[in-house]
Symmetry: C2
Subunit: 127 residues, 2 copies
């Protein structure tokens, strides 16, 4: 089996999504950043997500996080050739947990805004 | 110091609530049940929560879960005499993460509804 094509991750069906597992998958800053990026950008090449979402991690560590998000049913992955593409399972998540993903994506944007405001405030301090 | 009165848990200020930590605190079925019960019932005596929320656990295990919820800023605890009372920090949570707690509480209710429907279906099977 070719590396990059093999994939043993089991993604749950929509009706089998479990709230504790979804919340646990989202309870990590890099995974939140991944979900936020994919929610905004639509289906994305995995290597693009690492770079564009500003994740300071190896491809192997990203695969670990992606596995957790896929096994919880938050993201799904499609393989085309040697590349992997991932997207948010927004419809499945909205059906089971109405409003949850919007609240988390918006909250995360707000969080980043707060962080950036703090950064601006500290960098504006005279040196 | 009297047992039952001592309390070394640090509850974060509203502006210091962190989304990953809140989600991690909620990512456990017993803690979800606790939050759902307190959201519905308002400020509740801790021993009442264990019983009424149907938590099959000791007081010590409940204290462990309550600590995680308090340290994340989801619940707060007030001590009166030798009794502890806990309530949801709904205003603080709504301010930082609009819609999140409502989505989680509603989703959890829906989850229970699904579970009960499944139970009814299986118990309706002729024996």
């Amino acid at each position: 089996m070719l590396e990059g094509v093999m994939d043993d991750v089991v993604e749950p069906a929509g009706e089998d999504l479990q709230l504790p597992r979804v919340l646990a998958a989202l309870a990590e800053p890099n995974r939140l950043a991944t979900v936020r990026y994919v929610a905004r950008s639509g289906e994305s090449c995995c290597s693009e997500v690492i770079q564009e979402a500003g994740l300071a991690m190896t491809k192997s560590t990203f695969s670990h996080h992606l596995r957790i998000l896929r096994e919880a049913g938050v993201l799904t992955k499609r393989i085309q050739g040697t590349k992997g593409f991932t997207r948010l399972r927004k419809d499945d998540l909205d059906l089971r947990f109405p409003g949850l993903m919007d609240a988390i994506i918006d909250a995360e944007n707000q969080d980043l805004h707060v962080e950036r405001s703090r950064d601006s405030a500290s960098s504006a301090t005279p040196s």
